[in-house]
């Protein structure tokens, strides 16, 4: 599984904690290392804001929002680490020229959209820093001392969330988010089409065929359920054997059947499994 942004790769809390603590320390160091704060002078808000914005933008780029996440899930390493992404894994030689061209165009589009996303991250980072500095100035807060470090951190998070919330609600961001996801999905499907062509050439079942089989199974299950729901014919009620319907020809397939539970269709009582989970 591709590592997802916002979820630590190991999904272990200690890894996420370590990463967050490291960023926290980095931020505190930025607060504490302001020369002005050490000499009781007014801080240089301009340069301080730009340091904060820079650190923040770096974090945003390494943890992009959901549109880019989908690109990551679709299996494109470039989606999370920046442009340019890797080549189409199957390679142009494995596919017909038109498919390769289409996949390439989608890759180019994805890259361009990611560029747009990066511009949003940059704007959010700048806005966060400006909000933070405005709040510090409004509260007469030239004090970036270590005693106030935790309060500063909380203020910083508030400013960052406010700037983020304002940006990601705008129509242009929402549209971009959808375009990123749609393009990543289109790219995934283009790759699948290429894989299907290879599968067909090698005599393996394709995804389309698997889908067709699943639809048939669903229809058969539905027909069975409808039949089961119908009242029993007279002969059956009198206890006589009812001729079994002719079996439908089995679809030719090399796919594995669905698990028994799924094939059974209707629910079943389970043997009680007592005890704690």
């Amino acid at each position: 599984m591709t590592e997802m942004p916002f979820t630590p790769g190991s999904r272990e809390s200690d890894a996420a904690f370590t990463a967050a603590a490291a960023r926290f320390f980095e931020l505190l160091k930025t607060f504490s290392a302001q020369p002005a704060t050490q000499h009781g002078q007014l801080p240089d808000w301009g340069s301080f804001g730009s340091v904060l914005a820079g650190q923040f933008e770096q974090w945003l780029r390494s943890a992009p929002a959901a549109g880019a996440s989908f690109a990551a899930a679709a299996g494109f390493p470039g989606a999370t680490v920046g442009w340019p992404p890797g080549a189409v894994p199957l390679g142009p030689a494995a596919a017909q020229a038109a498919d390769a061209q289409s996949a390439w165009e989608l890759l180019m589009k994805l890259g361009s959209l990611q560029g747009e996303l990066a511009r949003h991250w940059s704007a959010i980072a700048q806005d966060s820093a400006q909000r933070f500095i405005a709040r510090m100035q409004a509260t007469g807060g030239a004090d970036l001392s270590s005693e106030r470090a935790l309060a500063l951190y909380e203020t910083w998070v508030e400013c960052a969330e406010e700037a983020y919330a304002a940006a990601v609600r705008r129509d242009d961001f929402c549209r971009l988010q959808a375009q990123l996801t749609n393009t990543a999905m289109a790219l995934l499907l283009a790759q699948r089409r290429q894989a299907d062509k290879l599968a067909r050439a090698w005599g393996l079942p394709t995804r389309e065929e698997a889908n067709a089989l699943q639809r048939q199974i669903r229809e058969l299950k539905k027909a069975l359920e409808e039949r089961a729901a119908q009242p029993a014919p007279r002969a059956a009620r009198r206890g006589k054997a009812v001729p079994r319907p002719k079996a439908r020809p089995r679809p030719k397939a090399t796919l594995r059947p669905e698990p028994k539970a799924a094939a059974a269709g209707r629910g079943r009582r389970t043997r009680a499994r007592r005890g704690r989970r």
């Binding site: 904690f17 926290f24 943890a63 996440s69 270590s146 609600r169 996801t181």
Partner: protein, 373 residues
């Protein structure tokens, strides 16, 4: 560190030592257990399992947990309460640990509590649709319980997306639901505060359906990216600076496990949910059809308790408040709880106020759930 002043250096040393301590506690808590109330699986269909929760036997009582034949008979006579959770998260959040378990409180109040666990759809389930989940999954559970208890109607508690299922089911089968409770359940999917709705409004649902099942990790990322700094940074820093003891760290890890433990979503069902609810707002507009039947919220006439969070960043309060204007229930109670989405399940409010409201509301509408006592 050399450029920092003395007090800053001391602060870093102190925080560094706290970080090491917290990290050690987190590692100790890795194998912490979730789920506290004994239960047994009583019915299943495909990946869906219906669990019945069992009351704790009194200390020193003979027999297996879950009680004697007499207790089983009493349970059969009591009014059942079916809890329907969302597809997008695991239901164990409702029974996370003994002192934070809505289920345990409900069982303790004498209800016979059942829970629908939707399980993990695999690639073979990608064509499973919304109506399959509703009629085969939830409907199958309802029919089993009604038969087991010899009743015509049960009480239904729908949570989040499970509340949407519950509303649809009640609208389509009004005779089978005696009382309906919804927790953080949206009816209007296009309120101005709804960021999730804004983000998916222009999603190409044809592509989404073709792309196949959506991994749970992707949905996690989506939910966390609604408030990324609070949800992926600040909470860990607060753990570090809050001087959490081992028990607090274990509670934290239980929540973490739940947050990052989302099941995959069946492609067709998720696509329909996005298209019909978020993009087209069909439930509110009265244009939703399932299995060829119109879902009319006016057909929901059962007494209805609508609990929602006033600071919910996933299901905004306005999305839930709309319910009162569209359902047909004359006995309708809405109540905003002063907490966030997750707080509805695990906060102090969740431990005290929410169970108490549900229990007293249900008891007022059905008498004592323990008729033999």
């Amino acid at each position: 560190m050399s450029e920092l002043g003395g007090d800053a250096a001391r602060m870093f040393l102190d925080l560094g030592s706290r970080a090491a301590e917290t990290l050690a506690r987190l590692r100790l808590a890795r194998d912490v257990r979730v789920g506290s109330t004994p239960r047994r699986a009583v019915w299943s269909d495909q990946k869906t399992t219906l669990y019945e929760y069992l009351p704790e036997a009194p200390a020193g009582a003979a027999g297996a947990r879950g009680g004697s034949a007499g207790q089983a008979a009493a349970r059969a006579k009591s009014r059942p309460l079916l809890v329907c959770f969302a597809l997008v998260n695991r239901p164990y959040i409702l029974d996370l640990q003994p002192d934070s378990s809505l289920i345990r409180r409900l069982v303790g109040a004498g209800f016979t509590v059942y829970l629908v666990d939707w399980g993990d759809p695999d690639d073979g389930d990608r064509l499973r649709d919304f109506n399959d989940y509703l009629e085969q999954g939830l409907g199958g559970c309802v029919r089993y319980i009604l038969e087991a208890h010899g009743l015509e109607a049960l009480d239904l508690l729908g949570v989040c997306q499970g509340g949407v299922f519950s509303l649809c089911y009640t609208a389509l089968h009004p005779g089978q639901v005696a009382n309906l409770v919804t927790l953080t359940t949206a009816v209007d999917f296009q309120t101005p505060e709804d960021l999730l709705s804004k983000w998916v409004r222009e999603l190409d649902t044809e592509l989404l359906e073709q792309a196949g099942n959506v991994p749970g990790e992707l949905l996690n990322a989506l939910f966390l990216s609604l408030m990324p700094f609070r949800l992926t940074q600040q909470k860990y820093v607060r753990l570090l600076t809050g001087r959490a003891d081992q028990r607090a760290v274990e509670d934290f890890v239980r929540m973490e496990r739940w947050i990052f433990d989302s099941p995959p979503q069946a492609a067709v069902a998720l696509t329909q949910f996005v298209r019909w609810f978020y993009q087209e707002n069909r439930l509110l507009r009265g244009t939703l059809e399932l299995g060829g039947r119109a879902v009319d919220l006016k057909s929901v006439r059962a007494p209805l308790l609508n609990l929602y969070a006033s600071a919910d960043h996933i299901v905004p309060p306005a999305a839930c408040e709309a319910m009162g204007r569209y359902v047909g229930s004359r006995d309708y109670t809405a109540c905003a709880i002063d907490t966030g989405h997750i707080g509805m399940y695990v906060s102090r409010k969740a431990r005290e106020e929410i169970p108490q409201r549900i229990i007293s509301w249900l008891k007022a509408r059905g008498g004592d759930p323990r008729p033999d006592r």
